[in-house]
Amino acid sequence: MTADPTMTVRIDGYEGPLDLLLDLARAQKVDLAKLSIVALVDQYLLVVADAQALRLELAADWLVMAAWLAWLKSRLLVPDPDADEAALSPEALAGQLAERLAELERMRVATGWLNRQPQLGQEVWARGAPESFTVEYRTGLSADLPALLAAYGGVLRRLAAQRPYRPKPRRLWTVQDAVQRLGVLLGTMPSWAMLSRFLPEGLSDPVERRAATASTLIASLELARDGRLDLRQDRAFGPVMLKLLDNEAAHAA
């Protein structure tokens, strides 16, 4: 309403709605604190309308700002009697807008201040050919034991990946071996003895030990079938007990 009809402002050259608003506010030539928001809104809407008349493609934020400003102006001129108490008053919203413009203006002043400082490499220069008096002397190593272990581990893994897989040969205790060993050992044990007593000695590998246990159990079952020994297991998963049966005893049974 109070827009100066002679004022022509083009929208291009502004970085966004706020940039334009600040420029329009400056044009009011008043302290930003005495800014007329309504006049500002009118000027903004005029510029946006002009731009649309020129069929300029306007980014959405220009139109969003236009719609919001139009709403703000209407609220400022005709206060809503049923206004929500919790909502900000139009005056408070106008104050926020003025504060945003003031902050942008402050940062423009700050930019100007920085620009007036003599800049390094632009107005003042540092030593172009600095001299270094720092002498690096290389002593000591930054390697530690974990690094050494990691390196050797890496070598070993590479080696493992390169070489074809050759499984370690296993000493497997066969049933025949077990039958033979049982035959020898049972003679020396007149009473009940645990199956594990009949395993070959020096079995540290758990796989070999399990295989030998299985072979010995099968061997003992075969010998029991032939009536040469007696087998007993008092409970599930309990130890398997063996005892030699002499021929007379076998006959008696």
């Binding site: 709605p17 309504v38 003031a102 700050a110 107005e123 003042v124 540092a126």
Partner: protein, 187 residues
């Protein structure tokens, strides 16, 4: 430079030469503590710097307090004569300096803060230019949804604009006198 003491103790010429050489040799500002370690114990670095400033007053190169230390810089009034003689890197764009100003006065702040204040999107190339020049650096993240990166200025920023510390920046309230208490004026 620090002001002279009331009671002036004459600074030994040897200390002055050493300080001169040390500040001259380095392109980066020399922290006063570093200078002190190079000086004899009974000579205060502060006094030496004051004497140095006095000796170089009005000369073509002058010692200045910058980025937490001291460095020699060419005298600002020689800018136009020297610009023609030495290589001058590209100046930061207007948008870049405006972004830098917002980060400097609002740090630590997020990219969204900068965009909010400028009322316009901030292009990645602008931020990249400031990062390339080492003017800004991440300063952690804001504990908010998305945990956006917070940005702040660097010692290189202080050095670039010849500031001893961030305290040399004008206070935000003083940037726009009269706008301290904004009252909405609807009419």
């Amino acid at each position: 430079m620090p002001p002279d003491d009331e009671t002036e103790t004459p600074v030994p010429e040897a200390a002055l030469r050493l300080a001169e050489a040390l500040l001259f040799a380095s392109a980066e500002p020399v922290p006063i503590g570093h200078l002190q370690t190079a000086l004899p114990d009974d000579v205060a670095a502060r006094d030496v710097l004051a004497a140095l400033a006095e000796r170089y007053a009005g000369r073509g190169v002058i010692p200045v307090a910058v980025a937490g230390g001291y460095a020699f810089r060419t005298a600002p009034d020689l800018a136009s004569a020297l610009t023609r003689m030495v290589e001058v890197p590209r100046r930061l764009s207007r948008v870049a300096i405006e972004t830098l100003a917002i980060i400097a006065w609002h740090q630590p702040c997020t990219r969204a803060d900068v965009e909010d204040i400028r009322g316009a999107a901030l292009s990645q190339s602008t931020l990249d230019a400031l990062l390339d020049m080492g003017m800004v650096t991440p300063k952690g993240r804001r504990e908010a949804p998305g945990r956006p990166t917070l940005w702040g200025t660097t010692p290189a920023f202080l050095s670039q604009f010849g500031l001893a510390s961030l305290a040399d920046l004008p206070r935000r309230e003083d940037l726009l006198p009269g706008a301290g208490s904004l009252l909405p004026r609807p009419q």
